[in-house]
């Protein structure tokens, strides 16, 4: 019986069938003062209790302004950082209990593509070395097998086999990002973290790379965790979008849902701040007062309340929890309690 359940129904509360599940993840950084008499003076709650499910073959996007914890979240997924609290499940296995072999397998299964292909590729390595480095680390392959895989990967990302012997400086931005993608694909990952994959590229190149990523997703059943600030890009790429504010997810929904019927005031403000696609297109502009507060000293209750145009009395005292109002669309806001 369980086998017929659709993926959306199975997603549910417990995240069955999710490739990666984050549960109540927190990442707090202690802040110290003084050198001789070092004392702890505070905590930066970069990520403060987020739970998300990344489904196989789907894209989960995190949006929010700088400092909201998107990148910290992705670093924990890449095992570059460890959560202070909460668990990460990969294929339903908690990461904390991984054996050595499982850890190695996990590292091969989760790869990343970063924003700036000028700094993410080592200028002193040839393209074939860049692409084969993860292959050699994770698999024992003969030299000819490595070479043929590099050739294949180059073709998969739309480059030519003869590019293997060149150096990164010989390529344009879009081509470099293709190299970075080929490198990420080399270990046959299940999940790729895409941290602003196109925002450093020329406008005429962006669509090429987005389309390539989409193609690869459907051919290899890849999951993506996409971090981007351009909402239109997010809409184009994602299956689920989580809106983050000061370390918390404040709204989560499929993109069409989220962008046509946003609920959280912060989501509404973000959408209203995005630029129009046509001069006659008018958006209702919600101008937020003030700045994003320091995560060192976040406001009590709902962290958004000092800037919220719809603030109520209880917002400064009670922390709103994520509630699902429509299937798949959850919001943490007292307006919807």
């Amino acid at each position: 019986m369980a086998a017929v359940a659709s993926p959306t129904a199975a997603e549910g509360v417990n995240g069955d069938g999710a490739l990666v599940r984050l549960e109540g993840i927190r990442r707090h950084f202690p802040v110290y003062r003084g050198n001789l008499l070092r004392r702890r003076t505070g905590t930066v709650k970069a990520v403060d209790g987020i739970s998300i499910n990344i489904m196989p073959g789907q894209t989960y996007s995190l949006v929010g302004e700088s400092g909201c914890g998107k990148t910290t979240t992705s670093r924990m997924l890449l095992m570059a950082d460890e959560p202070t609290d909460g668990s990460i499940y990969f294929d339903s296995r908690p990461m904390a209990q991984f054996s050595g072999a499982e850890r190695r397998n996990f590292r091969a299964s989760v790869q990343a593509v970063f924003q700036d292909p000028w700094s993410s590729l080592n200028p002193r390595m040839r393209v074939d070395q860049i692409i084969s480095e993860p292959l050699i680390t994770h698999q024992r392959l003969s030299r000819s097998a490595v070479r043929s895989q590099v050739q294949e990967l180059l073709q998969v990302v739309g480059l030519h086999p003869f590019h293997a012997e060149r150096y990164p400086h010989e390529f344009s931005g879009g081509q470099r990002q293709r190299i970075a993608i080929a490198r990420a694909l080399s270990t046959r990952p299940k999940l790729i973290v895409l941290d602003e994959p196109v925002s450093a590229l020329d406008v005429s190149i962006r669509a090429q790379i987005l389309n390539l990523l989409k193609e690869l997703q459907s051919s290899y059943e890849l999951s993506y965790l996409l971090i981007a600030h351009n909402l239109a890009t997010v809409r184009y790429m994602s299956h689920t979008v989580g809106v983050m504010y000061l370390g918390k997810i404040v709204e989560e929904a499929p993109p069409i849902e989220l962008f046509t019927d946003p609920q959280h005031p912060y989501t509404k403000a973000l959408i209203s701040a995005s630029l129009p696609a046509h001069p006659r297109q008018q958006r209702e502009e919600i101008v937020l007062t003030g700045e994003v507060p320091s995560p060192l000293n976040p406001p009590g209750g709902c962290a958004f309340h000092p800037r919220c145009p719809f603030v109520m009395e209880r917002c400064s005292t009670d922390l709103p929890v994520m509630r699902e109002h429509q299937p798949g669309h959850a919001t943490a806001c007292h307006l919807y309690d």
Partner: protein
């Protein structure tokens, strides 16, 4: 109408003389800007859009040189001005507005000192009255309690406030033309919106014309009256903003507009432009977009003239002949 033109650029050519050859960063561009008008110059990196701005400001970096054309500002050719005269014009007539407030204020001087420093160039008055003017400027950009803020250092202000201070400095000498060159790294959406609103605000108060140097059609749609699209050092299409979005005439503009995802519609696959932007030191003969153009034909071996496709709308493409 003609009296209202404050800037007329004609056949401007800015070339870079490198060891390996001449790079034509700006290769014969012409446009006009009326008082209070907002022009968007759109292009990708290497299209020459920033070099157009630097040329107008008389700040073309070595080994670049303006080799031809005229830049007519209020009836005077800027290319005939001395360095000193240009310096004067840069402060008072034409002004660059930086988008990033963190790097464009001096961290070791108070905001008041930095404003007074600029005002001193315009008014020969005692310091006290200059400070009064400085406070007025801060009030103009909607900074609350401006007198108190004069004694603040930049780090004591929030990002949004600093942005306003930068805005205040740029309008201190009542410029006629503001040039806003956006950095390649993008700001957060809400901060960017604040910046754009600030510029509109300043424009309403001072009646200054604005040139936006950008790669983002969204900014053009939001802010501009006119738009010029640059590709490989030339303006390939130029028109009023709505006309450009409704009836793009040049294949590059058309493809570019289609390849940008839109927040309000769903598409399965974005139409993308194949190939890479050309390198300026190895431009193809003829139309530089031809190698990437779906409509290219033999005619494109020759560089297209500028054709008028509609009133106030020109395109450099043989299809418009």
């Amino acid at each position: 109408m003609t009296n209202d033109v404050i800037l007329r650029v004609e056949d401007l050519q800015t070339h870079f003389f490198t060891r390996t050859g001449v790079v034509k960063a700006v290769d014969g561009i012409s446009f006009e800007l009326g008082r209070g008008e907002t022009l968007g110059i759109v292009g990708e990196s290497g299209s020459g859009k920033s070099m157009t701005a630097w040329s107008i400001l008389g700040m073309v970096p070595h080994p670049g040189r303006i080799v031809g054309g005229t830049i007519d500002y209020l009836g005077e050719n800027l290319l005939e001005k001395s360095r000193g005269e240009m310096r004067e014009i840069r402060g008072s007539g034409i002004c660059m507005v930086m988008q990033d407030p963190l790097t464009s204020l001096n961290p070791v001087f108070t905001v008041g000192d930095q404003l007074v420093e600029t005002l001193k160039l315009e008014y020969e008055e005692p310091k006290r009255s200059l400070r009064r003017r400085a406070a007025e400027l801060l009030a103009n950009v909607r900074i609350p309690a401006p007198e108190d803020r004069l004694t603040n250092f930049p780090h004591q202000m929030s990002g949004g406030m600093r942005q306003r201070v930068v805005g205040a400095i740029s309008i201190a000498r009542a410029p006629n033309l503001l040039i806003a060159d956006e950095p390649t790294t993008s700001l957060d959406a809400t901060i960017q919106l604040q910046y754009l609103r600030l510029l509109k605000d300043i424009q309403e108060q001072t009646g200054a014309a604005i040139i936006f140097i950008t790669h983002d059609f969204g900014i053009v749609a939001r802010m501009c009256d006119r738009v010029a699209v640059m590709y490989a050092g030339r303006i390939v299409e130029q028109s009023d903003v709505e006309d450009m979005f409704d009836h793009p005439a040049h294949p590059y503009t058309e493809a570019l507009l289609q390849s940008v995802p839109d927040l309000d519609t769903d598409v399965d696959t974005l139409p993308s432009i194949e190939g890479q932007p050309p390198s300026l030191d190895a431009l193809p003969a003829g139309c530089s977009f031809a190698p990437r153009c779906p409509h290219a034909w033999e005619r494109c071996q020759e560089y297209p003239d500028e054709f008028t496709v509609a009133p106030r709308h020109t395109s450099r493409c043989w299809r418009s002949e």
